[in-house]
Subunit: 558 residues, 2 copies
């Protein structure tokens, strides 16, 4: 591999430092470091999992990067999905660096930075596929890849040690947006030191269904249904939205857009020339009632049954302009994201209750993923012929399976780099090895607080959520420890106090006992008394009703 | 249909009253009522969904049945899964009736009643396939059906109006336990008034994979793996367990059983002659270390990654006797139950981190459902040729799709009965219609409390779980309303008080302001003051940190 042999005089080394996205889905963020120059690839968020009670979003821990603020040359965005750009505003609050991205990506970033009031101070730089960018020791070529959003990019990162290929999020689709296989193949011929490739769908065999096939399914629906057709799609999936529009128009339907992000994204996509709607074919939701149902198509958000989304509100009859009626067909052209299944199926049930027919991935070929399946992943490996392979974007099992796949097609085990967040992979003339890990983690954003909600607070929330709370209130004489008022017992989320008057009375008796039966010299040991009340009531509630509420004993010495 | 024509002198009518399982998965419980005689078919539970915070299990609301206690002739159990027998102890606390079930079912019921100290007072009656039971106006024949537990039964319920077929939970498997298709066909020939059939898998096309094929997959694993093989299976899936045992023995492995319910169920199954293990092939977990890894197979619980289950503990290195090491293979021979995916995939990731290889449904043919797919459902309809069809056991979309399936193969729409819990379907000489619905619902069991946790308490728990709690404590002069002590602010699950000292101070200032700036004549209006404190702090916390904790203002007048 020639590029590996072009070794300059100094001892070159390239470090890859994943801050997020290796060992998890989401939070994608990865650094390339040569000397004192750092490239940041993506700055993604993660939506909270169930156990992260009350958390709004999760972002990567930037600590390492903030300690090397001055070394950051650029932030490069592969595409505009939230798991690649969602943490950007939080990063840009802490450091300043130019942000590179393709057209659609930068437009979405612009909207986001506007919301966070960071647009004015940010240096956004437009780049395009086939372009090359020189940044200190790095030279980067941008490579078009097909994904479920316009303008997805892979990267060829040239370093003094050789070329790294970063796949971005990709699939290989011969019909929709087409990945630039020729450029990837050309790099393969010249020599690639390492490939970093998207592992999201490594559990799936074969190839992804061609996007065009979804168009065929949509055609059938638009043609056969006699009533209105409402299609829920991710608002960033412009190619899919175009297919819905085309199919609707083909079968004589007018198109209405519904949902805030749908309207914003479609506006951007139309401005950029990525979404085309023949003149006179768009209607507002208000105009819907004036034309026959068979001539209506609605494109809407809410495919994940997010609580406040349009479709969820429609399904609970809480939407101002759209009421479901018999004859309507609702199409969910999207996957069921793990964790959302119960909400989505519940929404489907309600749509059926109102008389709609519902078409969804589980029963119909109505969605295809934006991430490569096994055979496409192999193709990426075959085209780029890397010496080393680092699976990225996946939970741990995905990374393992992706490495196994690479081994199956010929890469030796010792060249497969199975790394998780924080592990530093150092390439130098000797080869490649793991060096000292860096600090990584997940930072919770809750309201305006970034990072202040930690495990302790979450533990409290969990405990409160499962068993509720009992507050025990007493006022004691500051001098003698004698009871002046109380005990009062107030609970939330524990029991209905009217249903259990004896239980509450008995709990009060136990508190009284503790307060009155202590030796006089021990009656002012407030922390000890609190502890004893807490323990005694916890025991009592377990025994009497088998519940473990948070017990909060409040003593007021006066 | 002859049986419909055998009309006696009085006006016969049969009412079907679903108390659970129609419009939901789980909670299966359905009544047949003729005059003043009620048959109860199944008494199942449901495991709580995410929003049911802290709830242990869910059971149907028995109110209707309890108002007609004296009419209950029998409880008939179709099989021993929790969603069919789990509510039985709670029912038997409230009313007394003989309980009929097949061998394996009754053994599981016996264990359950023992735990609830109800075994002594319960009249358990063993029945078997092909047997007929006369109960007042009802005559019931039991029909063997294949399911993922031994001794599953369907029912032919003869009434004065005709014959009803209840499928139970079933699939049609030509290799494993075989459903009694001949008996079903014979009823079809004689005339079936209505079929009630399992809708669980109506979204799935084709036929279920034959159970035997899973044995082939297991064989490959047992043969190829050089290390230990651990297979997680539902403890009631005895046929699957037998296949694991057979495969292990075939490839020279000793078998260890792991997990409390696995050990209990396998003991019962062996006593009944349903599970066979050649002599000398069972080992304890303790003996495992003494034989080569290639000769070890472990059959374990925990396929759903339940927090306290064996396999979950193994995957977090918290099991006393089993430590995962490189070379181990873990097989999840089970489905990912919706809601459990994140826990299961997290467990798989951890098993990989400890060096195991993991084989699971998503990547391998290692599990088959116990519920009929579309073609099997059609076969059931074709064999029994019912006049009316009532889809049961399913969420609403399942019921709709099952009705659509029946329509596709020829049943007229007007004979398809789409009902949810509480709707009463009355059959009489005129035909069939819906009459006044009965009261139904879900009752939450939390610790020892049955039904006392309602929506209000759950709402409190949810609110506490998302934003935590702030207690505001003040002692006021009973006569003047003057502040004697406080305000103190104590929080849980809200913020770290050390991180936000100014926020806490500012909150106290607001409380002080409210207390001191009220007109003197208004200073003893405690409820009004509390309300004002709550509102003011809620507003303040939203504005300052964008969080909405539960604010609990406690005023103590002294």
């Amino acid at each position: 591999m020639t590029s590996v042999l072009q070794i300059p005089d100094f001892e070159p080394a390239v470090e890859i430092i994943p801050l997020g996205g290796l060992g998890e889905i989401g939070l994608n963020m990865l650094l390339f470091k040569v000397g004192e120059e750092i490239l940041v690839i993506d700055a993604g968020l993660m939506f909270p999992e169930d156990y992260m009670l009350g958390i709004d979003i999760v972002i990567p821990d930037f600590s390492f990067l903030l300690r090397h603020k001055d070394q950051v040359r650029a932030v490069i965005l592969t595409h505009g999905h939230e798991d690649h750009i969602g943490a950007l505003p939080f990063l840009l609050r802490e450091l300043s660096a130019p942000v590179y991205g393709s057209r659609f990506t930068l437009e979405l970033v612009r909207e986001k930075l506007k919301e966070h009031q960071l647009l004015g101070q940010t240096d956004l730089r437009l780049i395009a596929p086939k372009e090359t960018l020189e940044l200190g020791s790095f030279k980067i070529e941008f490579i078009r890849v097909a994904h479920s959003i316009p303008d997805g990019l892979g990267l060829a990162i040239h370093t003094p040690l050789g070329t790294f290929i970063h796949s971005g999020d990709f699939k290989i689709d011969q019909t929709g947006g087409v990945s630039d296989l020729n450029t990837l193949a050309a790099y393969g011929a010249r020599g690639v030191l390492a490939l970093l490739s998207d592992s999201t769908n490594v559990e799936r065999e074969g190839y992804t269904i061609p996007e065009k096939r979804i168009g065929d399914s949509l055609d059938q629906i638009m043609r056969k249904c006699e009533g209105r057709v409402m299609v829920a799609v991710f608002a960033s999936n412009i190619y899919r939205i175009q297919q819905v529009v085309d199919s609707a128009v083909r079968y004589g339907r007018q198109v209405a857009f519904n949902g805030k992000s749908m309207i914003t994204n479609c506006r951007i996509a139309r401005e950029l020339g990525y979404l085309h709607l023949p003149p006179g074919r768009e209607i507002t939701l208000g105009e819907m009632a004036q034309i026959p149902d068979s001539q209506v198509a609605v494109i809407t958000t809410g495919s994940q049954a997010e609580p406040m989304s349009s479709l969820t509100r429609i399904a609970r009859d809480d939407h101002r302009q759209i009421k479901i009626k018999k004859g309507d067909t609702v199409v969910l052209s999207s996957r069921f994201i793990p964790g959302n299944e119960r909400a989505i199926t519940g929404m489907i049930d309600n749509l059926y209750r109102f008389g709609a027919e519902v078409i969804y991935e589980r029963v119909s070929e109505i969605h295809v993923s934006g991430h490569a399946h096994q055979e496409e992943l192999k193709l990426m490996l075959h085209l780029t012929k890397p010496r080393y392979f680092l699976p990225i974007h996946g939970e741990y099992r995905h990374l393992v399976k992706h490495a196994q796949l690479a081994h199956e097609i010929g890469l030796p085990w010792e060249n497969l780099l199975l790394a998780e967040n924080g592990q530093v992979i150092r390439f130098d003339r000797e080869g490649c090895r793991f060096t000292d890990p860096v600090e990584v983690g997940r930072v919770f954003v809750d309201g305006k607080g970034v990072g202040d909600v930690g495990d302790l607070i979450l533990r409290d929330r969990r405990h409160l959520s499962e068993e509720g709370l009992v507050v025990v209130l007493t006022v004691l004489n500051n001098q003698t420890g004698d009871l002046l008022s109380g005990p009062e017992i107030i609970s939330r989320g524990f029991i209905s106090e009217e249903e259990y008057p004896e239980l509450i009375q008995e709990a009060k008796n136990r508190v009284l006992e503790i307060l009155t039966q202590r030796p006089v010299e021990d009656r002012k040991n407030w922390p000890e008394i609190q502890k004893e009340i807490r323990k005694s009531l916890q025991r009592f509630f377990v025994k009497s009703i088998d519940r473990r509420p948070v017990v909060l004993p409040l003593l007021i010495p006066m």
